[in-house]
Amino acid sequence: MLAAGAVSKRIGSRWILHRVSLSVPDGQVLGLFGPNGAGKTTLLRILALLARPTEGQVVLRPAGHGERLLEGPALRAHLGFLGHESYLDPRLTARENLSFYARLYDVPQSDRRVDELLDQVGLALFAHEPVRTFSRGMVQRLAMARTFLHRPSLLFLDEPLSGLDAQGAVVFEALLGEARAARASAVLVSHDVAAGWRLADRVAVLAGGELVLEGPASEIGPDRVQAEYRARAQSAERSRAAWSASHGRSA
């Protein structure tokens, strides 16, 4: 289970997030949508403990650990983060990258797990090639393998389908399905509302740093998410135009 309570983040004088509260029970995926600059990536980084909130708190409780609160390295062992950066070393081969993370996370039978994942993401043939020779899609597949390598129970996925072809998307869905079956909780950020909604149990829309819509995916369809999304984007555009008109320069 993961939860954010009234999380706010200020960078300089600008509030990026304003009192965002949400929770994701074990075994569920929250689809997080919103226009550019809504604060989705910042929220995800705060939830994954990569950034500190200015106000509010984050509670992360990996499945199977009851009410016990973990922190520090013990908690990070249960987190999986797939973001804009691959967190791979381009100078090393695909296998060396995964082996390094497997040892860092103390993954049991690490060699076998690495082979299994390389095979699953379709990179077994390129296992001994340096990552810097990979295409964008291949890097994303390897980053996906890195994310799921240690079987995390709290997943943070920022545009996970970006750069993936249809087959890559199928592999991602299979890996997410396995994690969900093992009662992992996930927050999935996507610009593709239809694809993100299909994978989500709950949906939320973030706009201007505030949570403007949240509920079960069965009750909030992709059309409503799209409509909210569009309305917020238009409202932001109108604000920008009004600001430009009153200040005589572009916002």
Partner: protein, 226 residues
């Protein structure tokens, strides 16, 4: 503690393994150190006594500038990859990240120093007392202090814009005690000074090293978070 040491070893090994593939930082450091030896030996052309006086200073300044080329890359990742983010997410103590990076830097700079030392000795015609343990103590403590302080400052500069420009500005003021003490002890050994005369310099090197061994345990967590 064994677990901590294992993670430090893993991170250091990964750094060295990656550097061994491209040798970008290592070759730059080595070529820079050798070029300085050649250029200054022709440019200065001093007499015997002046040579002995400037040799320790020139040696250490060269090591520090050469090392800086490698330190600047410690926490910088290629765009779209950012391997440091993976370490921050991993179940390892933040201090293990620091010591892993520092250990890898120490190995690289140590190799460059060992390769450059005989070249400097030959070009400046200075016979190094290699059997004198005090010379090695000066080299090891000076390098250790430089690497620990340098790795710490490289982490501090990593989140800033133009990190590679900022690093020398942050690092050199902090390095002043090491520069003075390393030059003083190395120079003293070459001039066959008594050990008692060099004791203060060695003490500064030891204290500096201890400070930068302790600082990451207390501060590194905050240094890397945004």
């Amino acid at each position: 503690m064994v677990r901590f040491a294992r993670k430090v070893g893993l991170i250091a090994f990964r750094e060295l393994q990656a550097e061994a593939r491209t040798k970008e930082a290592f070759v730059a450091m080595l070529v820079f150190a050798l070029l300085v030896a050649v250029v200054f030996s022709f440019a200065l052309n001093p007499g015997r006594e002046a040579r002995e006086e400037i040799f320790p200073g020139l040696l250490w300044v060269t090591f520090f500038f050469a090392g800086l080329l490698g330190l600047g890359r410690s926490f910088a990742g290629d765009r779209g990859f950012e391997p440091l983010g993976g370490l921050l997410l991993a179940p390892v103590d933040r201090a293990a990240i620091f010591f892993g990076k520092a250990a890898a830097n120490l190995v690289l700079v140590g190799i460059v120093e060992l390769a450059a030392l005989p070249v400097f000795s030959a070009f400046f015609d200075i016979r190094l007392p290699l059997s004198d343990g005090r010379l090695w103590a000066s080299l090891v403590l000076g390098t250790l202090g430089f690497i620990l302080g340098g790795t710490f400052m490289a982490a501090l500069a990593a989140n800033a814009r133009a990190a590679e420009l900022l690093l020398p500005l942050l690092l050199f003021p902090v390095l002043v005690p090491v520069v003075i003490a390393a030059v003083q002890t190395t120079g003293g050994v070459l001039a066959r000074a008594l050990t008692e005369e060099l004791a203060f310099g060695y003490r500064i090197l030891v204290v500096y090293t201890v400070v930068f061994l302790a600082a990451p345990w207390l501060l590194f967590e905050y240094l890397l978070e945004s």
